[in-house]
């Protein structure tokens, strides 16, 4: 549990950070909370020569809600998300999810940007951002671009990020007023990654589902947007048959690994159980 040697940088502006990362290229790794990279370094599974700590960059922090869009700076901590009163009005599922990440100590350090950018399928925010159809703003010293959360993840620790590029902003279309939402996470104990988790957003018109969005956490190489399952709910009454159909479509896209959290079959079935529970809870909450 003793890391190898590395240099530590703590830039105070985005400009400076992008410059350092651009110059150092593949030898550098951005530090955005550190709850993945630091344990990996202690196990000597990762050995970046330079750590670039983004924690002192104020312009990467904060939540702003305007018009139809919610913008969250990538270095906003989970704790800050949890205590944002605007967010609790506009998009409460973010807080429901944040509260299920690790424990309070971790949430004081862990950031939304670190959570989405690392490409760890166990992280909760990648699934949630796909559920919300968020867009990530990626910046490097050669400019900025935008990639949708649903297109960002290629595999385990494999994302659309290029060398020298970081996520600077998460942009979320504000869910419609009265939307139903739920993030249901099965885990072994507080602080654990999900055995399986599901995020659901529903827009209802009376007892009919107008549209639905379902995403899954930790049951594949990446978090998964369950497109067919989502579409299958549109126009339905969210009765048992409709939910069973969505569950089976969602289970169909999972490919979890067998580990201490359970067998492949169990984890896939649990993804289904979480989807059913999240749909029912979201329907209850919708107005």
């Amino acid at each position: 549990m003793i890391p190898g040697q590395f240099d530590y940088h703590r830039p105070s502006s985005k400009q400076e950070a992008l410059q350092i990362l651009g110059e150092l290229g593949g030898d550098a790794f951005p530090l955005a909370g550190g709850h993945s990279i630091i344990p990996m370094m202690k196990l000597r599974l990762a050995a970046p020569e330079h750590l670039v700590d983004l924690g002192a960059i104020d312009e990467l922090k904060g939540v702003s809600i305007g018009g139809n869009v919610i913008e969250i700076g990538s270095m906003t901590t989970q704790h800050e998300l949890l205590t944002s009163s605007e967010l609790s009005q506009a998009c409460p599922i973010i807080q429901e999810t944040s509260a299920l990440i690790a424990d309070p100590q971790v949430r004081y350090c862990g950031t939304i940007g670190g959570n989405v950018a690392n490409g760890d399928p166990g992280n909760d925010m990648p699934g949630l951002m796909q559920c919300l159809d968020a867009t990530y703003v990626l910046e490097s010293n050669s400019g900025a671009r935008e990639v949708g959360a649903r297109d960002f993840y290629n595999g385990i620790y494999d994302t659309a990020l290029n060398e020298g590029e970081i996520v600077t902003l998460v942009r979320i279309p504000t869910p419609a007023a009265g939307h139903g939402y739920a993030y249901c996470k099965l885990k072994r104990k507080v602080g654990d990654y999900a055995t399986a988790a599901a995020g659901v957003i529903l827009n209802m018109s009376g007892s009919t589902c107008q549209s639905a969005s379902i995403a899954l956490t930790n049951v594949g190489d990446t978090a998964l947007y369950a497109a067919e399952a989502s579409d299958s709910l549109a126009g339905s009454d969210l009765g048992d048959d409709a939910i069973d159909r969505a569950v089976s479509l969602a289970e169909g896209i999972t490919s979890p690994v067998s580990d201490m959290r359970g067998s492949e079959e169990y984890r896939s079935k649990m993804a289904g159980v979480m989807v059913a529970r999240a749909i029912r809870l979201a329907a209850e909450r919708a107005s």
Partner: protein, 807 residues
């Protein structure tokens, strides 16, 4: 003149036996002011770290240390070849086997110690470890203990392949066989099974788990070359045993070895034995002449220090059709890993497994245990229990439930029917253990009444009905365990360690002229709060306020020789030594008081802290006054001073018991279990500090919960250890931990000076079967018989699936 304090005020000032005195250790522990091994920093101290094997079974072809030695700060890289000339590459284990200190030609388990890197700082040591190049040739591993004695199984222990026996336990059947241990009357038991109306049989596996103390294993070794003296600070549960073993295997004489156990952050059996890290720190300090520190990290602790359990028990019960148990048989396969480093008294390789007849009047029993080697970490320690007691009680408590199920009888009723009754004490079990006291039915009835047992069964039936009707997906389970523990090892005529020293323990009390005192012990607290409770025993026995008594343990230069703290032995053995030493002090004090007051010794009576002249109660001397007289005015023929030493060898073990009942609700969709309630009634005899007892029960139940619901050190088929970090290894937080309801009865132990029996391990022994019975009970009415621990959500779900309860 000051008003004389009332008796009540004097009693309050003593804070003796029965007082919930606040723990005197807590001010330092809660303020981060404890003094643990890693807090020890000596001038010129250097640091050691291990190169460990990535393979479970492999031959070492070559070790190249060149690159590691080139790292700035690295002072030495030691391998088995460096130790061989001093015969230090193997060390004796407490089980009579030997264990490699550094792998000699072969590695036998993943994470085995291969080389030791010493450097000026911890970082350089780790850098050095990374650069030691070891060339391995992989060999076929033996992971499943059931295949260890197969004809074509690879021979694991080439170093002892010709040894006829290991640890003096009789002939070996196979090169991977360690010993067979048997007890009981096989013929009579076989006959009981032949004649039985009903018999049940089940494979009850108790998984490999780990005691995982908060503080990992560590030590600082410092060799003074001028005086030829070695001092070792370490996380030792039994410091004197470590000193004696060190004297036996090194050229150093015992008086030049000083072992100090400072504050210990939990032991739970994991810190009784000796680990290669200790030997290497000592070897390195002897070579370098400067202090060497070795501190494990968490993964090393979970994967390379002693595991617990790994007992696979085929339990059998025979009974009449109306539920009288007539026989118990159990064949056990014990997986000991690569070396037999099991902590056991040398005559009992399977510990006190013969406690398996438990609280029941079972006339015939026979048990047989085979120990085998596999390519796994050595160990077999008693994780918060007496040696192999939790395994035995788990097996029998599961089997009793399984028998009840077969008989169609309520498990509570079956237990009542077979319990030893109060009039049967002292009761000799079929294995020859002498239970000295108890009232099992009274305790069990009290427990059943407290939880509203009959009402719970009705509620369970209703929930089952709803489940069957598709109205609910939840099942309710009621777990019962009634248990008798065997602790306080133990009478030296039957128990010893390393075949040399008996399992007595000791106390030395010295009263100072002003009436304050110091007492030293051969035991060693790891969180049990000996500094608090020993002072309470002394206070009651000597009439000196507990707050005026300093308790010291853990330094072999100052403490009297003792066997240390494990197997709930501190109160039964150390506590008895404590009471007897205090009684010797009081007896001498009485002589002095009589002399000063010019009366006969017989004319004095003891009044909690004062000697009074019978018939003239105002003529009195307090113990404080006697203490001063002991240094100034003693009768002729009596030596000055007021002190005593007691080496106490118990006449028997003690037998705490209890009755636990747990209610669970299982979500069959996810396999998750919610613990609705847990009631624990313990009878530990005389209660020294009720608050500390309650704390011990809470801690023990929390560990029992952890073991039964989640803890497992698993291996894949190639011998990779799985789950050896706190990400996977289940340590419940406050969020997961159930709420405990504790209760008690008091049946003092007749042979213990103050009637105390020990309590720290009861909740683990009774708790594990209680949880497991609850889970199994939830499925009993739906065809479930037994599902193996740990009862994690996926395993419970698989069980429900096997029974056709999930789609």
């Amino acid at each position: 003149m000051n008003k004389q304090p009332s008796r009540k005020e004097r009693e309050a000032a003593l804070e003796g036996i029965g007082t919930s005195r606040k723990r005197v250790e807590d001010p330092r522990f809660t303020q981060g002011k404890g003094n643990y091994v890693d807090d020890i920093k000596l001038p010129d101290m250097v640091h050691g770290d291990f190169v460990r094997s990535p393979y479970a079974h492999a031959r070492i072809k070559k070790i190249n240390t060149e690159a590691a030695l080139a790292v700035p700060g690295v002072l030495a890289v030691l391998t088995a070849d460096d130790l061989k000339p001093f015969n230090l590459h193997y060390m004796p284990t407490l089980a009579g086997d030997v264990q490699a200190v550094l792998a000699d030609e072969k590695v036998l388990y993943q994470m085995q110690e291969v080389a030791f890197v010493v450097a000026t700082d911890r970082y350089s040591a780790a850098d050095g470890v990374e650069l030691v190049e070891v060339e391995y040739e992989e060999l076929q591993p033996v992971i499943d203990p059931f295949t260890a004695m197969d004809k074509d199984a690879p021979v694991l222990r080439e170093d002892i392949k010709d040894a006829k026996e290991v640890g003096g336990h009789g002939p070996r059947k196979h090169p991977n066989h360690i010993w067979t241990w048997e007890a009981g009357d096989q013929k009579a038991t076989d006959k009981a099974f032949k004649d039985a109306d009903v018999a049940v049989e089940e494979m009850i596996s108790y998984q490999r788990c780990h005691a995982s103390p908060m503080e990992t294993a560590c030590c600082v070794a410092s060799f003074d070359k001028i005086n030829g003296a070695l001092t070792v600070w370490g996380t030792f549960q039994a410091p004197h045993v470590v000193r004696t073993v060190a004297a036996l295997i090194s050229p150093l004489p015992e008086h030049k070895i000083r072992i100090i156990a400072p504050d210990i952050g939990g032991g739970f059996g994991n810190k009784v034995g000796v680990y290669p890290g200790y030997i290497m720190a000592i070897a390195a300090t002897v070579v370098l002449g400067i202090p060497v520190k070795w501190v494990e990290d968490r993964i090393e602790n979970l994967s390379a220090t002693a595991f617990a359990r790994d007992y696979h028990m085929k339990g059998e019960l025979a009974a009449t059709k109306d539920g009288k148990i007539t026989g118990l048989r159990c064949y056990t396969l014990a997986d000991h890993g690569a070396f037999d480093a099991c902590v056991s008294a040398s005559k009992f390789p399977a510990g006190l497994f013969m406690i398996c007849t438990n609280s029941y009047d079972i006339p015939n029993a026979f048990v047989s245990v085979d120990g085998v080697y596999t390519n796994k970490t050595p160990g077999g320690v008693a994780y918060r229990c007496s040696l192999r007691v939790t395994e035995a009680i788990y097996m029998v408590e599961r089997m009793v439930d399984i028998l009840a199920q077969k008989l169609g009888m309520d498990p509570a009723e079956l237990r009542m029917k077979n319990m030893i009754t109060p009039d049967q004490f002292p009761y000799t079990t079929t294995f020859g253990l002498q239970y000295d006291s108890g009232d099992y039915p009274a305790a069990f009835k009290k427990a059943m009444k407290a939880v509203g047992y009959d009402k719970l069964r009705k509620e369970q039936a209703k929930m089952l009905e709803d489940f069957k009707a598709g109205k609910s997906r939840k099942l309710m389970g009621i777990g019962i365990s009634t248990f008798t523990e065997i602790v306080g090892a133990g009478p030296s005529r039957v128990c010893d360690l390393v075949g040399l020293v008996g399992t007595f323990d000791s106390c030395e009390v010295r009263v100072h002229p002003t009436g304050a005192a110091i007492a030293r012990f051969g035991t060693k607290s790891q969180g049990q709060a000996h500094e608090t409770t020993y002072a309470q025993i002394l206070s009651t026995e000597m009439g000196i306020p507990a707050a005026d008594i300093e308790i010291e343990e853990g330094d072999t230069d100052t403490a009297p020789y003792g066997m240390g703290t494990w197997g709930s032995r501190s109160t039964p053995v150390g506590g008895a030594a404590c009471a007897n030493a205090a009684r010797k002090v009081r007896a001498k004090a009485q002589k002095i008081a009589a002399h000063v007051m010019e009366v006969s010794e017989k004319d004095l009576e003891w009044d909690i802290d004062t000697f009074r002249v019978k018939g003239a109660p105002d003529k009195a001397m307090t113990m404080k006054e006697v203490a001063l007289a002991a240094y100034s005015n003693v009768p002729e023929g009596l030596e000055m001073g007021l002190e005593a030493v007691e080496y106490y060898d118990p006449p028997n073990f003690t037998f705490p018991y209890g009755a636990y009942i747990c209610v669970v609700e299982i979500d069959t969709d996810t396999g998750e279990t919610a613990i609705r309630s847990f009631y624990a009634l313990d009878d530990c005899g005389t209660r020294i500090n009720p608050m500390i007892i309650e704390g011990q029960v809470h801690g023990g139940l929390t560990e029992a919960f952890a073991i039964s619901m989640g803890q497992i050190i698993d291996y894949d088929e190639t011998g990779n250890v799985i789950g050896a970090s706190f990400l996977d290894y289940f340590i419940p937080t406050a969020v997961e931990t159930p709420v405990w309801t504790t209760d008690h009865t008091v049946t003092p132990c007749p042979h213990h000076p103050i009637g105390a029996k020990g309590v720290g391990e009861s909740p683990n022994v009774g708790g594990v079967p209680c949880f497991s019975n609850a889970i199994n009970d939830a499925f009993a009415a739906l065809g479930g018989v037994h599902t193996q621990m740990p009862h994690t959500a996926p395993r419970v779900w698989e069980h429900a699936k096997e029974l056709g309860l999930v789609a």
